[in-house]
Symmetry: C3
Subunit: 375 residues, 3 copies
């Protein structure tokens, strides 16, 4: 979109962008008789308006809306009723750059845990980030304050934040209304990754090797017993991750990345009447992803594969359920990330259960064709 | 609104508009004792922000928000409780013009059935489009892909689309999650209508005579028996329409238009426990509208009348109910469609029922004064 | 934000702004055991995108969105469950200036009752406006038409409006769907306040002394007996207010302001089954605020205090409850109102009740640190 300047000496600038990811999804179950028929769906995965601004050298803002419209086809099933529409301010952050080694973010923005959640939504390597990497009691963003910076000639980056975490609520719902704290650091060799946001691929324009780790915690986040309002549980999470991308003259660009993440809710799911949110896809769990890509040297085509393995404390009533997720596909960059066509096929498998739709443990395939536009 | 350019050679352009239709409505029933007292209401009929962009000659986008705030005064009654507010992305479409005869739309936009639904919302002939022309299981827009083009020196236009139709849902709600398909064609004599959107009037700037027809279908859209999950029903619809506008030197501009539309849900309403959505104002029905306008030659005043006759499979519990709707009024164009004042009086009549508010079949009058601003 | 021009002679202009108020709140109750533990919260108080436009000298528009995200920490308690997110068009108004003495506003905008509600949201003297000044059945804005103007060399201003008030609803909910009418006038000495919006402080750039009063009424707004649908009650409100700001060379700027407001619902709360909305924080009540500020002469620091005393017909089940609210703090203007840091400590006290969290009458302290950005 256009970039407009303002202020007495044009020290202000504001750019307005539209960003859409439109998908056609086919899944070989989820609908019809016993939910074992094919599901066909057109929908937006992302549908956004973004304002990026700066004022002078020290201050910038990033404000972005997101619109969802009946996201009925979910990672593990198809909904029974329309999920409704939602228009939200996904990001609204003011960033102050006091120094390359000392920057401050204030507002609503991505917290500092997993690398993949911090990778730009429109610049993943595969179709999308992991479906299983989200933390409990918030989404991909949170509200609060972060301090971060690059040290040692940009080879080292630190990040510290205090965020809302679980939203403040009365004692009827949660044992306390406290903040959530994160710490993350990385070492980045070759060309540095020195921004707040990472990318899933640099399309061969950078040589990158980055290794990071993060820890997050929030005390007294949930009751193990919501009826008696006892058995206070803490939330802790940690992750480590690696990312390497290397373009080779005449051969193409090779990318490999992986991460492990553990979400610990202090075994709250074993309580007598645990909080509903300590289990399920965003509850207590641990797992990893690995992904790899290869971009051709002369045509803007990138092939990719991804594998994930996750263990959930309790998923749809099955304790210690495991999910194996494997996918592969390709990105065709018509105008870099501004106009991109992606195809991905992926399979979702369940370790335990009947293997049928009766307890939602039937293995299934999903095929997604996506048009991405950044305008 | 302003038009901003961007890109290395200014091949990109983006325009930002606000569009509002603010209405004062008086209706001679709906409130108070037995709901037979007058209802007075101020509200927006449309309240939108629009981004129109292009990049080079082949690609353009159209992104538009819509905001509604307690639309309590509905076509047939006044609500018992506040309907709430809703902010949505009404349109979000990327358009590719490969050739005048081959264009592709991808995203959320108007599907190809009735002409009047495809007429620009801010350029109707009468106060608004028909209140009874909507199709089941979606709104005025849908998500998907359309292919269209103009042939034979723009005298013929074809349109084909595959859209979401009823949103993908599990077998608990609907017999299948399939796409909805439409085909539409028109013949346009004199000055051609060769855009995707039609207009309700060209304000005397064009001589137009266009005749079109369309067909739409979606298999397995609803259960005739939602309890047993049996009796799968298809959706089919067809329409034909005509539009003529002719400015006569010194005499003014004459406009006449009409359409017939049939919404067929395979008599699902006769099933034992039919899906709730197969009846009512957007369920199985057929009917027509005719409308005519006359714009004065020297002052920007346009007089209009409209008549409609619709038969509903089941409306508020009355089978084969018919509605007669007749209205008339005027548009005063202060700055063409950018600043327009409209007044319309209309009457809504019911064929069957007690003719009282007890079964919502009391005939009523509605008087609307509207200020339209496109900024 | 940037200001863009358009139109054949650049008679159009449109400015796009982001406005955020991000708060860190600590309150010494509301959470945990018996809701008597400290509540910690990060959230936006305001989070807005605004479009301000004009076309020629006579017509302008103001369109503004507001986004709220789980506003769980309310004036008097902390919610038991997440309050959800809401994106809305807060303002959408077209303004016509026929003459300085005759202007017309059409759309959604602030109605004409209390001065403080009409003070710009980003330019208060204290942290925010009164928490107790809202009227029943609408928010800080309403939809309708206002006529206003300045007379006698801007020393006198009148305002008249007809607004929606309680939204149109059927007789099941309210005795009638009528409009709400307001009249407001002020006398402004020294430098005139001649805009539609007031400010809470002019930061020493203006010498102001303004005294105003207003009256508002809406007939048949609620049932005193919602079961029998009888006992129709009217809404009436009146207020008077004063504002003085005076910069003294070398000494700094002194500000003092106060208002009294009475919300009268004809004692509907004494009915047998009164409408739910006639009581509580926005129901029948009366009270006042006084506030004062002092801005230092050479550094952009402003100290402020505020005191309020309100009597509620029925608050959380306690008849004739009174609230004493006292606060103080400071604004530090880094770039006037465009970048401002505010700290406020305030205490909320209850006259009647057990003084414990059991009936929500425990006195409490709230500490808010706020970063305001207008970009």
């Amino acid at each position: 979109g256009p970039r407009m300047t303002f202020g007495p000496n044009d020290e202000g600038a504001l750019q307005l962008d539209y960003k859409g990811q439109f998908q056609m999804t086919l899944r070989d179950n989820g609908s019809g008789d016993n939910n074992e028929d094919t599901t066909m769906n057109f929908n937006f995965r992302r549908n956004r308006l973004a304002l990026m601004g700066k004022y002078g050298d020290m201050m910038s803002i990033y404000v972005q809306t997101e619109y969802t419209d009946d996201p009925n086809v979910t990672p593990l099933d198809v909904a029974r009723e329309n999920q409704g529409s939602n228009f939200q301010l996904l990001d609204a952050v003011v960033r102050f750059k006091i120094d390359n080694a000392f920057r401050v973010n204030v507002g609503k923005f991505k917290y500092n845990l997993s690398r993949e959640n911090l990778e730009a939504c429109e610049m993943p390597l595969t179709l999308d980030r992991s479906l299983f990497i989200r933390v409990p009691f918030t989404t991909t963003r949170d509200t609060g304050v972060a301090v971060w910076g690059n040290l040692f000639n940009d080879m080292f980056q630190y990040r510290l934040d205090a965020m809302e975490g679980r939203k403040a609520l009365s004692g009827d719902a949660t044992p306390a209304s406290k903040f959530r704290y994160s710490a993350r650091a990385h070492v980045t060799l070759l060309d540095p990754e020195n921004d707040y946001g990472y990318k899933g691929t640099y399309l061969g324009k950078k040589k990158v090797a980055t290794f990071g780790a993060a820890y997050q915690f929030e005390p007294d986040v949930a009751y193990g017993n919501t009826v008696l309002k006892t058995d206070k549980k803490d939330y802790k999470a940690w992750t480590f991750d690696g990312f390497v991308e290397y373009p080779v003259e005449g051969m193409g660009t090779f990318t490999a990345s992986g991460a492990y993440e553990k979400i610990d809710l202090d075994h709250a799911y074993l309580g007598d009447n645990p909080d509903f949110n300590v289990v399920g896809i965003n509850g207590e769990k641990n797992g990893y992803y690995v992904k790899a890509g290869y971009m051709l040297p002369n045509i803007p085509l990138q092939l990719f594969v991804r594998h994930e393995d996750w263990k959930f404390a309790n998923l749809n009533g099955i304790y210690n359920q495991r999910i194996f997720w494997t996918g592969g596909g390709m990105n065709y960059y018509l105008r870099d990330q501004n106009l991109k066509l992606t195809f991905e096929a992926n399979s979702t498998g369940f370790r335990y259960g009947s293997g049928t739709s009766a307890d939602e443990t039937e293995d299934f395939m999903t095929y997604v064709t996506q048009l991405q536009v950044i305008f």
